[in-house]
């Protein structure tokens, strides 16, 4: 069974190469089918691996495919480490990817660059798999950057659109800020444990006397390395303030948004911290930092979604907000809980995006929700799927989101520290916000009266679009019932966080009676009143709320901050290039020396008049002077 692992990335790579370089041999449709088929086979393989891992208790696959670098003092391999944690991740990634592949055959059928697209998404999945199965930090980083690279290519897929190529540059550069810290974090871990290998690092955790390591600015070594790694994750998983790239990434084709947001890119950060959890449990400062960042992302970015009118951007902001939940859970060392939310979120977020894609297709690439409405009757399958997705995201009881979100909030509440209490309240408010914006979307898109033209021509998309929606709907509803698996999930060879859990029925009872349900009900009420029944609340009309909404609509000016930073960088560069490099070094020093010599030569040349007697004078006077000097020396 273990040997099957090699084939998963290999198949994806082959798929990417076939679709990318087969312009002559395959037409669009068949290359899409081949690609989907290959991903599907890897999904099957990953399922086999999953069952194999779960069939035996202590089973961990660990080996190297080949040595990346192997010299004395440094051994980096390209290999795999598959435990229960990563095998689930593998299945999640591949199942979402398969569905997205399938969906894309329909969605992209009219695109000129159909094959390029398939090549990219296969490469995207490949990079993510490389990241997930990696057994060391370098391979993780390769996958990590690979994901960033393909997202760069995919966001800029429509390379003629200025907004798209701006967005992809922005995405890559923001990710690079994270990567810079990430690589520093990796290097710090390496410097302390003399290895990049997870196994060695975690085994050395006991041996290495961590307190002996250096401290910087009053924080311990581990604090810093974990913090740097987390900053890397902040960029990938779109946490404040490095979230700015994610809403803009909606410039890419919609299936990509599903892939980026649900399964691959943004989950990489969560996965990485989960993977390195043995390190993170050792640091208090960084986990508190993570908790605060996560909670504030969940709340503050979620709020923006209420005022957003682009259907994809609303869902994008909701992703950031949900990622905030996951990160917050990481901040209280509840890695499995976070991972559980990642897993449920993957399905319903993919579902939401694919539904949005279906809607956008039906409306001829209109993404503005103000021009939508009343689609309930026209797009029944999409409507039901979207409804399921929305119910999941707001945590409606018995859907998957309910399990994961409630578990997360409960664990947060039981953490019993001031900071986690604050975070709990923020997350609860975020749940309210989530309910409001999700239902707003639902109401506006499907219930409100249609305001555009050509309502009669709108019709449901073909089977190839709707089948993925149905698959994902089923998965979204039922994936939450595996809660037990996640609560017992060990990460690597370390024990789980002690979670008091008494069976699923008790959990449901408890969950329904929790404050989260209150938030749900309240959110439903507000949302229905405002967006369905068009009732204006007077309380929302006063200045205070208006002022707040202005701040929120400005998206807290993060974009402006980054733009001004980049402008500063550009101006510095111009200044340095013009003044310092060309002016000082090149102008003054390098060209200055010959210029000085030249001007001195010109001076002397002008002094030589050409008159014979002037030369005679200079000879005589020189003679006098030389004689004088000799005399002075002799006498």
């Amino acid at each position: 069974m273990e040997s099957l692992i090699l084939y998963i990335p290999l198949l994806l790579l082959i798929s990417s190469l076939i679709t990318g370089f087969s312009s002559k041999f395959l037409n669009n449709f068949s290359s899409g089918i081949v690609s989907t088929f290959l991903v599907f086979i890897s999904l099957i393989l990953s399922l086999i691996i999953l069952f194999d891992i779960y069939s035996s208790d202590e089973s961990i696959y660990y080996n190297n495919f080949y040595d990346w670098i192997s010299i004395s003092g440094l051994n980096i391999g390209m290999g795999y480490l598959i435990d229960k944690f990563s095998s689930i991740m593998l299945v999640v990634v591949l199942s979402i990817s398969t569905v997205v592949h399938l969906y894309s055959i329909g969605y992209m059928k009219d695109e000129k660059d159909f094959k390029r697209f398939f090549s990219y998404i296969a490469l995207f999945t490949f990079s993510m798999i490389l990241l997930v199965i990696s057994n060391n930090l370098v391979q993780l980083f390769i996958g990590w950057e690979g994901v960033g690279l393909v997202s760069y290519l995919l966001i800029g897929f429509f390379y003629k659109k200025q907004s798209a190529i701006k967005a992809n540059l922005k995405a890559f550069l923001v990710n690079r800020i994270g990567d810079m810290f990430f690589i520093l974090g990796i290097v710090m871990v390496y410097a302390a444990f003399e290895s990049f290998d997870y196994k060695t690092i975690f085994l050395n955790l006991d041996k290495t006397n961590i307190t002996n390591l250096e401290t910087y600015f009053g924080l311990s070594y581990i604090d810093f390395s974990c913090l740097f790694l987390f900053i890397g994750a902040m960029a990938k998983s779109a946490q404040i303030p490095l979230h700015v790239w994610l809403p803009d990434s909606m410039e890419g084709p919609t299936p990509i948004s599903a892939l980026i947001h649900a399964a691959t890119m943004v989950t990489a950060g969560i996965f990485m911290i989960g993977r390195l959890s043995p390190l993170y449990v050792l640091t208090e400062f960084t986990t508190d930092f993570i908790l605060l960042i996560g909670a504030s992302t969940a709340l503050f970015i979620g709020v923006i979604a209420i005022f957003e009118n682009d259907i994809k951007k609303v869902i994008a902001y909701s992703t950031i907000s949900q990622l905030g939940y996951m990160v917050a859970a990481l901040g209280i060392n509840a890695y499995t809980v976070s991972f559980f939310h990642l897993y449920t979120h993957a399905f319903f977020k993919a579902l939401l995006f694919l539904c949005a894609g279906s809607i956008i297709m039906s409306l001829h690439h209109n993404q503005d929700i103000r021009k939508m409405g009343g689609l309930k009757s026209k797009l029944p399958i999409t409507y039901i799927s979207f409804m399921i997705g929305t119910l999941c995201i707001i945590g409606f009881p018995l859907t998957s989101g309910f399990f994961s979100k409630d578990l997360l909030l409960e664990v947060m509440l039981y953490e019993k520290s001031t900071i986690s209490l604050v975070a709990y309240i923020m997350l609860l408010l975020a749940a309210l916000v989530t309910t409001i914006y999700s239902l707003r979307l639902l109401f506006i898109v499907f219930y409100k009266k249609y305001s555009g033209e050509g309502f009669e021509n709108i019709k449901e998309q073909s089977m190839i679009i709707t089948i993925p929606l149905i698959i994902l709907s089923v998965l979204s509803i039922f994936s939450g019932y595996l809660i037990k698996v996640f609560i017992d999930l060990p990460i690597f060879m370390f024990g789980v966080k002690d979670i008091h859990y008494e069976g699923i029925v008790t959990f449901i009872e408890h969950g329904i009676l929790s404050p989260a349900t209150l938030a749900l009900v309240l959110g439903f009420y507000v949302s229905k009143k405002i967006y369905k029944d068009d009732i204006k609340f007077n309380i929302l009309e006063n200045n205070f709320f208006k002022r707040i909404s202005v701040i929120i609509k400005s998206k807290y000016k993060f974009d402006e901050f980054f733009i001004s930073t980049s402008n500063i960088m550009k101006n510095t560069s111009l200044l340095m290039s013009k003044k310092f490099d060309l002016g000082l070094i090149d102008g003054l020093i390098v060209n200055g020396v010959p210029k000085t010599i030249n001007s001195f030569a010109i001076f002397l040349r002008n002094k030589s008049s050409g008159y014979l007697y002037h030369y005679a004078f200079s000879i005589v006077i020189s003679l006098v002077i030389i004689l004088g000097i000799i005399l002075v020396r002799v006498i």
Partner: protein, 101 residues
């Protein structure tokens, strides 16, 4: 009593006068040449003085050579002056500044 210093002082004086001659005569290239002849004369005198006092004939041999070379020099110098005069109808050296940079 005439000592060596007398002779040397004399030739130094002659030398200085010819230097002054170079400075003063900026018009006439012939006078310049004559000043140079004077200078050579003073140098030759010095040679002979030293030769005489050291009782070494080599100094005089040198004077012989100097005389020969000086004769050649003045011959060529005069030839140049003649051809210069033909070309420019003047030998005023302040009109000749082709060497100006």
């Amino acid at each position: 009593m005439i000592t060596m210093s007398h002779y040397l002082t004399f030739s130094a004086l002659l030398f200085c006068i010819s230097i002054a001659g170079i400075f003063i005569n900026r018009k006439n290239i012939l006078l310049l040449l004559m000043s140079i002849e004077l200078m050579l004369l003073s140098v030759n005198t010095n040679f002979i003085v030293f030769s005489h006092y050291s009782n070494d004939i080599t100094g005089q041999v040198f004077v012989f050579f100097i005389l020969a070379v000086a004769a050649a020099e003045s011959a060529i110098g005069l030839a140049i002056i003649v051809s210069l005069f033909r070309k420019r109808n003047s030998i005023e050296i302040n009109l000749i500044n082709k060497l100006k940079g």
